[in-house]
Amino acid sequence: MLAPCCVRITVLYFAALRDLTGKAQEQLHLPDAVTQVGALAAYMEQVVPALQGRMASVRLARNERFAESSESIAEGDVIALLPPVSGG
Protein backbone atom coordinates (compact mmCIF):
# COMPACT_ATOMS: atom_id res chain seq x y z
CA MET A 1 0.00 0.00 0.00
CA LEU A 2 2.72 2.51 0.93
CA ALA A 3 5.23 1.35 -1.68
CA PRO A 4 8.11 3.82 -2.13
CA CYS A 5 7.44 3.82 -5.88
CA CYS A 6 4.35 5.98 -5.64
CA VAL A 7 3.49 9.59 -5.01
CA ARG A 8 0.82 9.72 -2.33
CA ILE A 9 -1.71 12.56 -2.29
CA THR A 10 -4.83 13.43 -0.36
CA VAL A 11 -7.93 14.17 -2.43
CA LEU A 12 -10.78 16.28 -1.03
CA TYR A 13 -14.34 16.17 -2.38
CA PHE A 14 -16.76 19.02 -1.83
CA ALA A 15 -20.49 19.65 -2.18
CA ALA A 16 -22.07 17.65 -5.04
CA LEU A 17 -18.83 15.66 -5.51
CA ARG A 18 -18.81 14.59 -1.88
CA ASP A 19 -22.39 13.40 -2.24
CA LEU A 20 -21.62 11.55 -5.49
CA THR A 21 -18.43 9.86 -4.28
CA GLY A 22 -19.85 9.24 -0.84
CA LYS A 23 -16.73 10.52 0.86
CA ALA A 24 -15.13 13.81 1.91
CA GLN A 25 -11.55 12.70 1.26
CA GLU A 26 -9.29 9.81 0.39
CA GLN A 27 -5.62 8.95 -0.05
CA LEU A 28 -4.44 8.09 -3.56
CA HIS A 29 -1.22 6.49 -4.82
CA LEU A 30 -0.52 7.85 -8.27
CA PRO A 31 0.88 5.87 -11.21
CA ASP A 32 4.27 7.17 -12.33
CA ALA A 33 2.73 8.68 -15.48
CA VAL A 34 0.52 11.03 -13.49
CA THR A 35 2.80 13.92 -12.59
CA GLN A 36 0.70 17.00 -13.36
CA VAL A 37 -2.67 18.34 -12.30
CA GLY A 38 -4.28 17.92 -15.74
CA ALA A 39 -3.20 14.31 -15.96
CA LEU A 40 -4.49 13.73 -12.45
CA ALA A 41 -7.96 15.01 -13.37
CA ALA A 42 -8.09 12.64 -16.35
CA TYR A 43 -6.79 9.74 -14.24
CA MET A 44 -9.36 10.31 -11.50
CA GLU A 45 -12.20 10.47 -14.01
CA GLN A 46 -11.10 6.99 -15.14
CA VAL A 47 -10.60 5.33 -11.78
CA VAL A 48 -13.34 6.90 -9.65
CA PRO A 49 -16.68 5.69 -11.06
CA ALA A 50 -18.70 8.58 -9.58
CA LEU A 51 -16.54 11.11 -11.45
CA GLN A 52 -16.95 9.62 -14.90
CA GLY A 53 -18.53 12.13 -17.30
CA ARG A 54 -18.67 14.76 -14.58
CA MET A 55 -15.24 16.43 -14.56
CA ALA A 56 -15.86 19.10 -17.22
CA SER A 57 -17.06 21.75 -14.76
CA VAL A 58 -14.76 20.69 -11.90
CA ARG A 59 -11.75 22.84 -10.97
CA LEU A 60 -8.78 21.47 -9.08
CA ALA A 61 -6.95 23.12 -6.23
CA ARG A 62 -3.47 22.08 -5.13
CA ASN A 63 -2.54 22.89 -1.55
CA GLU A 64 -5.37 25.40 -1.18
CA ARG A 65 -4.75 27.32 -4.41
CA PHE A 66 -6.43 26.95 -7.81
CA ALA A 67 -4.07 24.84 -9.93
CA GLU A 68 -3.13 25.03 -13.60
CA SER A 69 -3.22 21.80 -15.64
CA SER A 70 0.53 21.97 -16.13
CA GLU A 71 1.31 22.22 -12.42
CA SER A 72 3.41 19.37 -11.01
CA ILE A 73 2.15 17.17 -8.22
CA ALA A 74 4.40 16.32 -5.30
CA GLU A 75 4.33 13.76 -2.54
CA GLY A 76 1.92 14.79 0.21
CA ASP A 77 -0.02 17.32 -1.88
CA VAL A 78 -3.63 18.03 -0.98
CA ILE A 79 -5.72 18.13 -4.14
CA ALA A 80 -9.29 19.43 -3.86
CA LEU A 81 -11.99 18.76 -6.45
CA LEU A 82 -14.18 21.84 -6.59
CA PRO A 83 -17.59 21.86 -8.25
CA PRO A 84 -18.71 25.28 -9.59
CA VAL A 85 -18.79 27.58 -6.57
CA SER A 86 -22.06 29.14 -5.42
CA GLY A 87 -21.24 31.34 -2.46
CA GLY A 88 -22.83 34.70 -1.79
Binding site: A16, D19, P84, S86, G88
Partner: protein, 161 residues
Protein backbone atom coordinates in the same frame (compact mmCIF):
# COMPACT_ATOMS: atom_id res chain seq x y z
CA UNK B 1 -6.02 44.31 9.78
CA UNK B 2 -8.57 43.47 7.14
CA UNK B 3 -11.77 41.76 8.32
CA UNK B 4 -12.34 38.72 6.07
CA UNK B 5 -14.05 35.78 7.72
CA UNK B 6 -16.20 32.71 7.32
CA UNK B 7 -18.59 32.24 10.23
CA UNK B 8 -21.27 29.91 11.45
CA UNK B 9 -22.79 32.69 13.60
CA UNK B 10 -25.12 35.44 12.30
CA UNK B 11 -23.23 38.26 10.57
CA UNK B 12 -23.09 41.80 11.92
CA UNK B 13 -23.55 44.69 9.51
CA UNK B 14 -22.14 47.17 12.03
CA UNK B 15 -19.00 45.10 12.46
CA UNK B 16 -18.34 45.09 8.71
CA UNK B 17 -18.89 48.85 8.46
CA UNK B 18 -16.66 49.58 11.48
CA UNK B 19 -13.93 47.47 9.88
CA UNK B 20 -13.66 49.79 6.86
CA UNK B 21 -14.49 53.12 8.50
CA UNK B 22 -11.69 55.61 9.15
CA UNK B 23 -11.35 59.37 9.28
CA UNK B 24 -10.49 59.78 5.60
CA UNK B 25 -13.39 57.65 4.34
CA UNK B 26 -16.24 59.82 3.10
CA UNK B 27 -18.09 56.99 1.40
CA UNK B 28 -18.91 53.44 2.45
CA UNK B 29 -20.70 51.02 0.13
CA UNK B 30 -22.10 47.82 1.57
CA UNK B 31 -23.62 44.75 -0.04
CA UNK B 32 -25.80 42.23 1.78
CA UNK B 33 -26.62 38.88 0.22
CA UNK B 34 -29.83 37.65 1.81
CA UNK B 35 -31.58 34.27 1.54
CA UNK B 36 -34.74 34.91 -0.44
CA UNK B 37 -37.90 32.88 -0.64
CA UNK B 38 -37.48 31.67 -4.22
CA UNK B 39 -34.81 30.84 -6.77
CA UNK B 40 -35.23 29.76 -10.40
CA UNK B 41 -38.96 30.04 -9.85
CA UNK B 42 -38.88 27.48 -7.01
CA UNK B 43 -39.74 28.22 -3.37
CA UNK B 44 -36.77 28.05 -1.01
CA UNK B 45 -37.15 27.13 2.63
CA UNK B 46 -33.54 26.51 3.69
CA UNK B 47 -30.03 26.97 2.37
CA UNK B 48 -26.98 25.09 3.60
CA UNK B 49 -23.60 26.71 3.01
CA UNK B 50 -20.30 24.88 3.17
CA UNK B 51 -16.78 25.96 2.32
CA UNK B 52 -13.31 24.63 1.74
CA UNK B 53 -12.49 26.88 4.66
CA UNK B 54 -8.70 27.32 4.56
CA UNK B 55 -8.69 27.89 0.80
CA UNK B 56 -11.75 30.15 0.96
CA UNK B 57 -9.97 32.33 3.52
CA UNK B 58 -6.89 32.58 1.31
CA UNK B 59 -8.97 33.46 -1.76
CA UNK B 60 -10.83 36.17 0.15
CA UNK B 61 -7.50 37.63 1.28
CA UNK B 62 -6.21 37.58 -2.30
CA UNK B 63 -9.32 39.32 -3.64
CA UNK B 64 -9.20 41.97 -0.93
CA UNK B 65 -5.52 42.66 -1.56
CA UNK B 66 -6.10 43.00 -5.30
CA UNK B 67 -8.93 45.47 -4.84
CA UNK B 68 -7.11 47.57 -2.24
CA UNK B 69 -3.95 47.70 -4.38
CA UNK B 70 -5.94 48.65 -7.48
CA UNK B 71 -7.63 51.61 -5.78
CA UNK B 72 -5.45 53.44 -3.27
CA UNK B 73 -7.55 54.76 -0.40
CA UNK B 74 -10.00 51.87 -0.59
CA UNK B 75 -10.50 49.50 2.36
CA UNK B 76 -12.65 46.40 2.16
CA UNK B 77 -14.14 43.82 4.50
CA UNK B 78 -16.15 40.65 3.88
CA UNK B 79 -18.01 38.20 6.08
CA UNK B 80 -19.53 34.99 4.74
CA UNK B 81 -21.89 32.79 6.70
CA UNK B 82 -21.73 28.98 6.74
CA UNK B 83 -24.23 26.36 7.93
CA UNK B 84 -28.02 26.34 7.71
CA UNK B 85 -29.71 29.60 6.74
CA UNK B 86 -33.38 30.49 6.48
CA UNK B 87 -35.21 33.05 4.39
CA UNK B 88 -34.14 36.54 5.50
CA UNK B 89 -30.80 35.45 6.95
CA UNK B 90 -27.73 37.32 5.73
CA UNK B 91 -25.37 35.00 3.81
CA UNK B 92 -22.66 37.50 2.95
CA UNK B 93 -21.66 41.08 3.76
CA UNK B 94 -19.18 43.07 1.66
CA UNK B 95 -18.12 46.57 2.69
CA UNK B 96 -15.80 49.05 0.98
CA UNK B 97 -14.77 52.53 2.08
CA UNK B 98 -13.13 55.21 -0.02
CA UNK B 99 -12.72 58.98 -0.08
CA UNK B 100 -15.57 59.22 -2.64
CA UNK B 101 -18.56 57.13 -3.59
CA UNK B 102 -17.48 56.11 -7.10
CA UNK B 103 -14.52 54.08 -5.80
CA UNK B 104 -16.51 52.75 -2.84
CA UNK B 105 -19.27 51.37 -5.09
CA UNK B 106 -16.77 49.94 -7.58
CA UNK B 107 -14.75 48.20 -4.86
CA UNK B 108 -17.83 46.79 -3.16
CA UNK B 109 -19.17 45.49 -6.45
CA UNK B 110 -15.82 43.94 -7.40
CA UNK B 111 -15.60 42.31 -3.97
CA UNK B 112 -18.95 40.52 -4.13
CA UNK B 113 -18.49 39.63 -7.82
CA UNK B 114 -15.13 37.99 -7.22
CA UNK B 115 -16.25 36.25 -4.03
CA UNK B 116 -19.13 34.69 -5.94
CA UNK B 117 -16.85 33.72 -8.83
CA UNK B 118 -13.83 32.25 -7.15
CA UNK B 119 -14.18 31.57 -3.43
CA UNK B 120 -14.79 27.85 -2.78
CA UNK B 121 -18.15 28.06 -1.04
CA UNK B 122 -21.19 26.05 -2.03
CA UNK B 123 -24.84 26.19 -1.15
CA UNK B 124 -27.47 23.48 -1.18
CA UNK B 125 -31.01 24.69 -1.63
CA UNK B 126 -33.91 22.95 0.06
CA UNK B 127 -37.30 23.39 -1.57
CA UNK B 128 -40.51 21.38 -1.87
CA UNK B 129 -38.91 19.14 -4.53
CA UNK B 130 -35.93 18.25 -2.35
CA UNK B 131 -32.38 19.55 -2.10
CA UNK B 132 -29.83 20.36 -4.80
CA UNK B 133 -26.44 22.03 -5.03
CA UNK B 134 -26.79 25.43 -6.65
CA UNK B 135 -24.73 25.80 -9.88
CA UNK B 136 -24.13 22.05 -10.14
CA UNK B 137 -25.39 20.61 -13.41
CA UNK B 138 -24.92 16.88 -13.55
CA UNK B 139 -23.38 16.31 -16.98
CA UNK B 140 -24.55 12.69 -16.88
CA UNK B 141 -28.21 13.72 -16.82
CA UNK B 142 -29.89 14.34 -20.18
CA UNK B 143 -31.12 17.83 -21.05
CA UNK B 144 -34.81 16.97 -20.69
CA UNK B 145 -34.55 15.77 -17.10
CA UNK B 146 -36.96 17.79 -15.03
CA UNK B 147 -34.86 17.98 -11.90
CA UNK B 148 -33.62 21.18 -10.33
CA UNK B 149 -30.18 20.93 -11.86
CA UNK B 150 -31.55 20.81 -15.38
CA UNK B 151 -33.87 23.65 -14.46
CA UNK B 152 -30.97 25.76 -13.24
CA UNK B 153 -29.20 25.04 -16.50
CA UNK B 154 -32.06 26.42 -18.52
CA UNK B 155 -31.81 29.76 -16.70
CA UNK B 156 -28.14 30.35 -16.11
CA UNK B 157 -28.50 34.09 -15.41
CA UNK B 158 -30.76 33.56 -12.44
CA UNK B 159 -28.23 33.48 -9.59
CA UNK B 160 -29.24 33.58 -5.97
CA UNK B 161 -28.60 37.29 -5.43
Amino acid sequence: MTLLELRHEPLSLDEAVRAVQHEGAGAIAVFLGVVRNHNNGQPVVLLEYEAYAPMASKEMQLIAQQIEQQSPGVRVAALHRLGSLQVGDIAVICAASAPHRQEAFQACRALIDRIKEQVPIWKREHGPQGAYWVEWVDARCSADDHDHAAHAHRDPHEGNH
